[in-house]
């Protein structure tokens, strides 16, 4: 991970401290700025303050937040209007910048946000090979399993999905690669910058960047004839209609969902419908016992451990 790319997202004062401080960016998960509060660095094993030269925790000011927001948006907050309504922006490298502040409503609709008081930079990590253990369960020579990766937030779902896509696309061992279509609604998987993926998703992967999942899945099926369609964080009603379209088109689906375990996810109304149809052949559950990305279990379509 390029340290300067991350440091340049922040206001001058913070950037200087980040440069001076020794930080292992490969283990860093979040950088959290709150107005009038210390700046937190969150690692996989805990959190710490960013400290000044005098070892005092650096306290974030409103100006820092404003300046950071300018840099994060490339002086163009208007270009992130739609994303800001959802509370986050995706930046070069696939990192996600979450913001909170005062929400401006237009009737029932969120129009925007002002008085931004907290910025949380979640760093995207690429761990090539992290899917090695699950690949034999997902892909055989002439078969790919419809797969759902389940975990609570910050347990490595997206990182695992990214590596699964890469391995499906490139092929692994004696298994040949297949065409993979990725709908990257939040630019997290590929981390596209000006249309070019910054993360390695494999040589046979087509990425539809910043496209709503439901529409993107249909577009990919129609236009790119992928063997596998991959999406991150299924959850909206329209996503499930698109999932049906994928299944019936003969493509295989690899997706992720928030949840503690298979039962909890399948108990939600939408996934219950998919369960009834026995859509998924594999459920992979991740946890965070010692570190993010621990595989708690791999289950077949009936929920029986493989």
């Amino acid at each position: 991970m390029e340290a300067s790319q991350i440091q340049n997202l922040f206001a001058g004062n913070i950037r200087r401290l980040l440069v001076q401080t020794e930080i292992d960016y490969d283990r860093l998960y979040e950088i959290r700025l709150r107005a009038g509060r210390p700046l937190f660095l969150t690692y996989d094993k805990g959190e710490c303050f960013l400290r000044t030269k005098g070892r005092e925790p650096y306290v974030v000011t409103r100006e820092d937040l404003k300046e950071t927001l300018e840099y994060v948006s490339g002086y163009s907050l208007y270009a992130y209007e739609d994303e800001l309504r959802q509370g986050y922006m995706s930046v070069q490298g696939g990192h996600r910048v979450g913001v909170t502040g005062k929400v401006i409503l237009d009737g029932d609709r969120i129009r925007g946000m002002k008085y931004i008081s907290c910025i949380n930079v979640r760093l995207a990590h690429q761990i090539p090979g992290c899917a090695d253990a699950v690949m034999p369960y997902i892909r055989k020579e002439k078969w790919t399993a419809h797969t759902l990766i389940i975990s609570p937030p910050r347990c490595g779902k997206t990182t695992l999905l990214r590596d699964v896509i890469r391995q499906l696309s490139n092929g692994f061992g004696k298994i040949p690669g297949v065409t993979v279509g990725v709908v990257d609604e939040r630019s997290e998987l590929a981390g596209c910058y000006q249309g070019i993926p910054q993360n390695d998703l494999g040589m046979r992967t087509d990425v539809l960047d910043c496209c709503p999942k439901a529409q993107g899945m249909q577009m990919l099926i129609r236009a790119m004839s992928p063997a596998v369609v991959a999406v991150d964080e299924l959850g909206k009603e329209e996503d499930f209609r698109a999932v049906e379209a994928v299944i019936h088109s003969g493509c295989r689906l690899i997706a992720t969902a928030h949840g503690e375990n298979v039962e909890a996810v399948l108990a939600t109304p939408f996934f219950a419908g998919l369960k009834k149809m026995r859509v998924f052949d594999r459920y992979i559950v991740l946890g965070k016992e010692k570190r993010a990305g621990i595989i708690r279990g791999i289950f077949d379509g009936r929920g029986v451990p493989c």
């Binding site: 340049n8 300046e67 300018e70 490339g74 002086y75 163009s76 907050l77 208007y78 209007e81 925007g112």
Partner: protein, 172 residues
């Protein structure tokens, strides 16, 4: 004979100076028109591509050459570099540096340099509206210049010729 040659040289120099000044006015009009085109391109990129400014400036730079391309590229580079300055400051610096030889009047230069101060604030609609207002102002200046240009050019040329003749007569 030498005296005659000197007077002829002075006459030619005077005429040349007048013509150069007149060509400068044409260049000024041409450069203002080019900046108007740049504004239209920027508007299109913001409206259709929803690109952020560094990206938009870089995209547009491919359509231009010379000082405009240099201006757009240096602007994009500096915005990407995130040096701790505002968009307005960076825009002003780049405009003043790259358009030194564009022949703009002080007022026109100020108008162009101030474009950065108007951008980057609030939503897309606001950016487009600001660019519309800027375009209108630029068009007004172009119209004004177009009205005055033939007369001014003629005046410059004639003054050059007459100045040359006057100095020639003085030296005779």
């Amino acid at each position: 004979m030498l005296k005659f040659a000197g007077i002829l040289m002075i006459f030619i120099a005077g005429t040349g100076m007048g013509t150069a000044k007149s060509m400068e006015l044409t260049k000024r009009e041409r450069n203002l028109k080019k900046f108007l085109w740049l504004t239209s391109c920027l508007k299109g990129t913001v409206r259709c591509g929803n690109s952020c400014f560094p990206e938009a400036f870089l995209e547009i730079s491919e359509k231009f050459d010379g000082m405009y391309q240099e201006f757009l590229q240096s602007l994009a580079d500096r915005l990407k570099g995130q040096e701790g300055q505002t968009l307005g400051q960076i825009f002003r610096d780049c405009a003043k540096k790259e358009f030194r030889t564009a022949g703009f009047s002080a007022e026109e230069m100020e108008l162009i340099a101030s474009l950065g101060d108007r951008l980057g604030y609030l939503d897309r609609e606001m950016q487009l509206r600001q660019l519309d207002i800027f375009e209108e102002e630029l068009c007004r200046r172009l119209d004004f210049l177009a009205c005055q240009l033939p007369e001014k050019k003629k005046l410059c040329r004639n003054l050059g010729i007459l100045g040359g003749i006057f100095l020639g007569v003085l030296l005779w």
